[in-house]
């Protein structure tokens, strides 16, 4: 068979001389060299294209390792990596459409376990992950929060919350889950589920503006829930929840998305593509234009601050289908450097020694 195939293919080969043809698979030899300080950028890739990737940038060598998960593990992350967090020595990559949590060694990227989040043959579509006392809590679009032991890496239970939960945050021994209902358009959800971390049950469900997505908690007993609104009658809006009484203290229209907190600073991206800072202590916008050197970012996609260095990182998703860029700024908003990352760089994780 093989011979016959080769013979007949000779004709084909002769004809294909002019074809630029067949690029051989570029096999990258797995490199599992331990890495030190740096950051990981999780690139979502494109829906249905299985091209989510992980970029690593080393502060010391100033080198970018593109698609490090693939080069280390010899397989791709899959479709639409949505969240990445480091807890202890492990890094957790939440892959939405593939419905997996890839647990890897945080320093090397080497796979420890692939946790599949399925309900029968249907993917639960995990979105976001937080940690509390050696447990990981993962929201999934099927309306659950999975509870996973970070040692055994097995899911012990699913807590039912609202529809299509997005982000979640831990505060005061509780978890606050933003139930977006985003897949139910136009019938969005508009609730925040409060889970008691002792009983692992939903103890309260709060009402906010439709389509809540971002959740962050500060050091002053506040939980911030940012709703995207419905893109027509209801604009985006910020709810501030008291984590003691679990009531919504305030709900105000707020032009922003993709919140990230570092210390007292809550960074977010405005609809005009500006990076602004809200101060948790003063409860006011402390910096209406973080970037001070005129750096233009086509499509700011994700913002994150490194607590140790004080640097702020902003990703650029460009046209949402080309490789993106990561910009590093010092704390005064001046650009330090930029690197090329993957498609739709949506989340950053900082690797500390």
């Amino acid at each position: 068979m093989k011979n016959l195939k080769q013979n007949i293919l000779l004709v084909a080969a002769a004809l294909s001389l002019i074809l630029t043809s067949c690029n051989k698979d570029k096999k990258v030899t797995p490199v599992a060299t331990p890495v030190t300080d740096g950051l990981y950028v999780l690139n979502q890739g494109l829906f249905n294209d299985n091209n989510s990737s992980l970029s690593f940038y080393s502060y010391t060598s100033k080198q970018v390792t593109p698609d490090i998960f693939n080069s280390v593990n010899g397989r791709g992350l899959g479709d639409t990596g949505n969240d990445i967090e480091i807890y202890g020595s492990k890094m957790y990559i939440v892959v939405n459409v593939s419905s997996t949590i890839e647990v890897v060694d945080a320093k090397t990227g080497k796979s420890i376990k692939q946790v599949k989040l399925f309900n029968g043959s249907t993917g639960r579509q995990p979105r976001d992950i937080v940690f509390y006392k050696n447990n990981a809590y993962v929201t999934s679009y099927d309306g659950t929060v999975a509870v996973m032991d970070t040692t055994a890496l097995t899911v012990s239970q699913f807590i039912t919350v609202g529809r299509n939960p997005e982000q979640l945050a831990v505060a005061n021994g509780k978890i606050y889950v933003a139930n977006s209902g985003g897949l139910g358009y136009p019938n969005y959800d508009k609730t925040v589920s409060v889970i008691d971390l002792n009983t692992l049950t939903v103890i309260k469900t709060l009402t906010v503006v439709v389509n809540p997505q971002n959740v962050v908690a500060d050091n002053y007993g506040n939980v911030y829930v940012l709703s995207a609104g419905d893109y027509s009658a209801n604009p985006s809006s910020l709810a501030i929840i008291d984590d003691n009484t679990d009531v919504v203290k305030s709900q105000t229209n707020f032009d922003g998305s993709n919140m990230a907190i570092q210390g007292d600073n809550i960074y977010f991206i405005t609809s005009a593509g500006k990076i602004e800072v809200y101060n948790a202590k003063t409860q006011a916008i402390s910096n209406p234009g973080f970037i001070t050197d005129g750096t233009v970012i086509t499509t700011p996609y994700c913002v994150a601050a490194d607590g140790t260095t004080g640097e702020v990182f902003v990703t650029d998703a460009k046209d949402y289908s080309s490789n993106g860029t990561l910009y590093a700024f010092d704390k005064t908003g001046k650009k330090e450097y930029s690197i090329t990352v993957g498609i739709n760089p949506g989340k950053i994780a900082f690797l500390k020694n």
């Binding site: 074809l19 690029n23 829906f47 299985n50 397989r75 791709g76 899959g78 593939s98 299509n164 358009y185």
Partner: protein
């Protein structure tokens, strides 16, 4: 355009991505109609049956007798060897197959079924995999437009035209009927019985009925690349259950006075296997189509050379799409779409002089789309086309020119409608035959045409009514040489064609994935420059002791580069899914009633995204098919037995990323004529 949508944050675009990707709605089957113009216009240049390559516009044709040689099961298979043709195939027996000609995109190709366009107002692309070949007589691809001018205006209104002509009854009083029974089956769990009944009712009246039933589980083996597994998996949820019934009544007083009435019904239920998502390959999406149309045609040619052509069509195309796994809290998606179209066309042509013909055509189409989508626009589109065309022959020269005027107006029930459009589109074609006695012809054409935004582009999840999208323009410049010669040697004939072309697309409609649906995610952004070459060779031997050989080779070169924005990372780079080089070869040997044929398609690698980066590469492929056909008599009834092996060498390849193509498959068929 579709499916590049990336939008997971709100889930909305997720929905639209899924839909755009899988509901490729409204490809309808069959519209049939009066094709009679062809017969009247045919000029016998040579008594030998030479392939018809010499025409004003580049032309490639395949007839029913060659379908078997091409191992073709549907229209997409039958034309995959054509030069300049790029088939986007999502794989499998029920998988979407669309065609882009000369890199212009599927929306710039008009598919005519017996002269009347199959219109998909929602997506603008016809699933050629759905068009069965059982009742097809010939398929012709015209770059630019057909060379005849007594045609409906829609024939002039696209960058290229794929004309499908159905089989017409051709019976005598001695044997007033003919019944064709056949069955196909093989891989994919396919069973496809079909029936054709031709009946002569009187001197003037006859009818033909075609029907088939196609059932398949659609399963095939494939190998995923990149997920670390090295084992093959089985593609599931690709089942298909389709039925079609097509009846046509013909009245022929003479070749110059005829009428037909066509009724067509198509019904299908299929699984959509979806993209093979790493670690999560299961899909439970389904698509139902139920399309019905009635159309009629009347043609009259008077002694004075006045030529009249009237066509009408009324169609309804119903589509239902479900995805039970869609996590919207309502048990998944269950969307229904309903397209209605009323079409009326009238053409008059007249020879002012024996070498000068003029024609005037007017088409009216009223098209509406209903969808069970929140805040949907429910658009109705009125299209009025007027064409003034002329053919002129002067010695060694032939000229054709036409001016098309398009008027489009739209109404919506929700939001705002797209603005009224009024656009003139010129075409000029010329051929020159430099030498007497040589069948060598030089030709050139220029065509400036556009495609209107589809309903999806205009209204699909356009939160604030219609998106502000302009039509997408395509200018084509073509120059070519054709040569054909009847030979008296071992070879019977040889034909050669080569065309070089330059196309320029402006205001290309592109979908920009976007987080916020309030901001239009579909815009007129792109500019594409396309430089290409189509070349073809056809030859065949004479018959020696029952032996006869045929060979055809087509080559396509396409340099289709994005020239939208000099500052972008993909400026001057090849547009997605466009191979630079493609070769298609078909060769065969006939010995008496036996034929053995080999088909080979070679495609160079492509990029699946705009950035021509190594990680965005989709490998090239070489796919071979073999057919064995045996014709014999059962009693005195002619019968055909054939066996086809597709993808003979079991090549593991994809055309569209994440949609693996089937490996080796087998098809057996038997047909008998009573």
């Amino acid at each position: 355009m579709q499916k590049k949508v990336h939008y997971l944050k709100s889930g909305l675009l997720r929905l639209s991505a899924g839909l755009l990707c899988f509901s490729f709605a409204f490809p309808f089957i069959a519209s049939a109609q009066t094709d009679t113009t062809k017969k009247l216009k045919e000029v016998k240049i040579n008594t030998k049956p030479l392939p018809n390559v010499q025409s004003l516009s580049p032309i490639q044709q395949v007839s029913a007798n060659a379908f078997g040689q091409l191992s073709a099961f549907n229209v997409a298979d039958a034309i995959r060897d054509f030069a300049g043709v790029n088939i986007k195939d999502y794989g499998g027996i029920g998988g979407l197959k669309t065609v882009s000609v000369r890199s212009l995109g599927a929306g710039h190709l008009a598919v005519l079924y017996d002269g009347v366009q199959i219109n998909d107002a929602q997506n603008g692309q016809i699933d050629l995999g759905r068009l069965n070949l059982d009742n097809v007589q010939s398929i012709t691809l015209y770059n630019g437009q057909p060379p005849e001018i007594c045609l409906p205006a829609r024939s002039f209104a696209s960058a290229s035209v794929l004309s499908i002509i159905t089989i017409h009854p051709n019976l005598t009083a001695a044997k007033p009927y003919q019944v064709l029974l056949g069955v196909k089956g093989g891989s994919f769990g396919l069973a496809n019985p079909y029936l054709q009944w031709q009946q002569r009712l009187s001197n003037r009246w006859s009818f033909i009925i075609n029907s088939y039933w196609e059932k398949a589980n659609g399963q095939y083996k494939y190998k995923v690349k990149g997920d670390g597994s090295d084992t093959s998996s089985t593609r599931t949820n690709g089942d298909l259950n389709a039925q079609e019934a097509d009846g046509a009544l013909y009245y022929t007083k003479s070749d110059s006075d005829k009428f037909n009435l066509h009724l067509n019904y198509y019904n299908s239920d299929r699984g959509l296997p979806g993209a093979v998502i790493f670690y999560n390959p299961v899909s439970n999406q389904r698509l139902w189509n139920r399309d019905i149309f009635v159309q009629s045609g009347y043609e009259r040619l008077w002694q004075s050379s006045l030529h009249l052509l009237i066509n009408t069509k009324l169609s309804q195309d119903y589509t239902r799409y479900t995805d039970p796994d869609y996590l919207n809290g309502q048990g998944g998606l269950n969307d229904r779409y309903n397209q209605w179209e009323f079409y009326l066309s009238g053409t008059l042509s007249y020879h002012l002089l024996s070498n000068w013909e003029i024609s005037y055509a007017t088409d009216i189409a009223l098209t509406s789309l209903d969808a069970t989508l929140y805040n949907y626009a429910y658009p109705t589109r009125f299209t009025l086309l007027n064409v003034l065309a002329s053919n002129f022959n002067a010695g060694k020269w032939r000229f054709q020119g036409n001016l098309l005027h398009t008027y489009v107006d739209e109404w919506v029930k929700m939001g705002s409608a797209a603005p009224t459009r009024s656009i003139f589109s010129p075409t000029l074609m010329a051929t020159y035959r430099p030498f007497n006695g040589y069948d060598l012809q030089v030709r050139a054409f220029y065509k400036d045409i556009f495609r209107n935004p589809t309903f999806d582009e205009q209204y699909y999840f356009a939160v604030n009514g219609a998106r502000n999208i302009k039509p997408e323009f395509a200018k084509q410049y073509d120059a070519g040489i054709t040569y054909r010669k009847a030979l008296n040697s071992l070879l019977d004939y040889v034909t050669l064609t080569i065309d070089g072309y330059y196309n320029n697309v402006t205001d290309k409609i592109v979908a920009l994935p976007n987080q916020n649906p309030a901001i239009s995610s579909i815009i007129n952004l792109g500019r594409v420059d396309i430089t290409g070459v189509d070349a073809g060779l056809k030859t065949g031997t004479k018959t020696y002791d029952g032996w006869r050989g045929t060979l055809s080779v087509n080559y396509t070169y396409q340099d289709a580069i994005d020239v939208t924005d000099p500052t972008s990372s993909f400026y001057n780079q090849q547009i997605p899914y466009t191979p630079k080089n493609t070769i298609a070869l078909n060769g065969g040997v006939d010995y008496k009633q036996l034929g053995l044929y080999y088909n080979q398609v070679l495609s160079s690698s492509r990029y699946y995204l705009s950035e021509n980066l190594p990680e965005n590469l989709v490998d090239g492929y070489a796919v071979s098919d073999v057919s064995l056909i045996y014709k014999f008599l059962v009693g005195n009834k002619p019968a055909v037995l054939s066996a086809h092996v597709d993808n003979l060498f079991n090549e593991n390849y994809v055309i569209v990323r994440s949609f693996p193509m089937p490996g080796r498959s087998v098809l057996l068929s038997f047909q008998i004529k009573i």
